[in-house]
Point group: C2
Chain length 446, copies 2
Amino acid sequence: MSGVVSKARAARRASLQLANVSTKVKNGALLKLALAISNNKRPLLRANAEDIRGAERLVKRGKLSGAFVQRLKLNNDKLRDVAGMVRSVARLPDPIGRTLYAVELDRGLELYKVSCPIGVVGAIFEARPDVLPQISALCLKSGNAVILKGGWEARRSNEAFFELIRDTTERAGIPRGWIQLVEARREVREMLKLDEFIDLLVPRGGKEFVKYIQANTSIPVLGHSEGICHIYVDARADLEQALDICYDAKVQYPAVCNAVETLLVHRAIAKRFLPRLAERYRRARVEIRGCEQTVKLLRGIKRATEMDWRTEYLDLIISIKVVGGVEDAIDHINTYGSKHTDAIITRDRRTALKFLTGVDSSSVMLNASTRFSDGYRYGLGAEVGISTGKIHARGPVGLEGLTTSKFYLLGNGHIVAEYIGPKARSFTHRPLRRKWDDVVRVFNVG
Amino acid sequence: MSGVVSKARAARRASLQLANVSTKVKNGALLKLALAISNNKRPLLRANAEDIRGAERLVKRGKLSGAFVQRLKLNNDKLRDVAGMVRSVARLPDPIGRTLYAVELDRGLELYKVSCPIGVVGAIFEARPDVLPQISALCLKSGNAVILKGGWEARRSNEAFFELIRDTTERAGIPRGWIQLVEARREVREMLKLDEFIDLLVPRGGKEFVKYIQANTSIPVLGHSEGICHIYVDARADLEQALDICYDAKVQYPAVCNAVETLLVHRAIAKRFLPRLAERYRRARVEIRGCEQTVKLLRGIKRATEMDWRTEYLDLIISIKVVGGVEDAIDHINTYGSKHTDAIITRDRRTALKFLTGVDSSSVMLNASTRFSDGYRYGLGAEVGISTGKIHARGPVGLEGLTTSKFYLLGNGHIVAEYIGPKARSFTHRPLRRKWDDVVRVFNVG
């Protein structure tokens, strides 16, 4: 039995117990973990420093970028943020044990649908070492066991975080084995095959990385490979708003998935709007690539190719296309977009409604920046990820994305034969006020 | 462009419109369809008679079973049931457009999470011709386009149903192209590759059939390949109840996925219970295969092998194992089960709770027959299928399983830059009473 299989087996075993650990014990473990992170800054930074030294050697040999090393680096402030994040996860409501549906099927036959953990989550992420404590805290809170696979360049930081989390939480009553670390790169390929033990994969990293995982596993994957977000500036847009929003969505943080990549501009306002926008973009050093009409209106810019409409730049580059109206905009987005986040700027409510309902994306916005598309901003408490898939979870996903549900049916000798044939009893299907919690309380008395 | 691709493309196009068709138009189309089925019994039966003749030729050559022909056969009663089913789907509440979450992020910045169709559903099913109108009605009601692939043996019945549904619903205002029929067997393989156009596959058929589909596509699959259901008869069971439930769960309809396949019996009552149960089973011609202890208690039965614990008989066969207690039972089920439906018979509430929370299956029952695990019985209105996966939907799945959600964010020039840095505005995250329906009403006025 390979190392990964035995770790996955242990995680599966632990997950069955973890599913029934109380909110109090889970939150207690999270608060102790936050404290342990604050109290162990020195060993964590020491481990990180080793990773940094290794990475810097690779920078010298031209194998890694300086930006990479920056993302890899931990410091006191970052560790304080990590501890704060763990504490905030402890404060979130428990997503487990919620009664989603409760109905009496017949006298003495009660059905409860209750939220429960998925089981074992496989988290695969690239170098940033603060992802490990974040995804671990989210899994613990939602009662899931987790198998972690971090980037090779952050391996000492990951090990240090992993050991601290494992030791602290297991001492605080979380079932032994609930958290597992996988290190070798070839072990990822093994993980992707373990659909018997792993219920959900949560990849965190670049587009190619996520695409590789999606293409090489039959385990469901929660996440998105890219965000090709659009803003359509309608003929009836408030142009001042449009300028601010187009600027914010591109410039405020261009390296993220909810930044805008393509603007679609109604031809009736293109001449008034584009030169002013181009001026603001120029000052922020945004490169513009335009369609034929845009190129005519803004001299000295590059022509956008078919490829540009399909590209997530994640950089200070934007493509612009002049369109005939909202239908054209919707068509363009549904053809070239990635179903992530798209916005319309308009004062016309009917046009807005056409766009909102016609664009097939996880978030569709009116007169707001695409950058709002985020679990924290949406008030979901914590963000597990943003899903561009339509199954299980769509858009920014909170803790709920790490849960599933289970039906409990409580009878008193009920058999199906009585509900069949000419003298069949009929079902009452009467909603119940009682929640699953109440049942558990009564049953615990015995 | 192959035939399947162009059909899938047409379905995708239609799905974008169908997503916004009103409840009234959808229900109207369903009621017209019910009527059309009643009014077209003769051509439907004629098409079916051709299929039956073809199938009977294959029976003579020993290539099909008589039972197969029975399942293939339509008659006036079955068609009346089909029309009734379509009418009942019209009467169900619309699963689309429900506001799942509504929160003010800040003044004038409102977020709505709203249920919406998944898009394009691929339905692949074996011979029973009444599956086609059922899955079509469920897709229409939930605003999804559907690509249907039925069994070759039922192709004329499927064509007749398909044409009737297409013509009736398109005349009633459902977007052209929303329903597509794929016929050749090689086209299934093509369908499985169309993850660009098909959002969800719903297979209906035997275990091998579903397993084949799951193994050969990256499109999410809703369904289950098998139901290895268990009943654990505890030391503190009411033995009369246990007898009735074990009989019902095996004998009432053995060919279905929620029939019981393995009994686990507490050793303290095995000697009292098993001979009585065996007597009832013998009268119903149920073959018993037992563990060593069961074989000692019930002379003349076969010994169960390791393979028996993993087998879904779908027949009048049952395997029985004597166990030491509830923990053993839970372990056995989590090891050999299929996460479908399992039950405990006991009067001890603490033991019951241990079993209910410890068994990792989509439905777990107390003192009731596993045969209750079904969308209609659970009060879900209609059953799309039973999912043994944990992602997206679990257990009996109603129309909700054919929906996803979409976030709408309505702002008034809001940008993210204002919520960042030392002078950052903060989010209010105040729940909204307003529903998305209300927004649509106001926006439609213009």
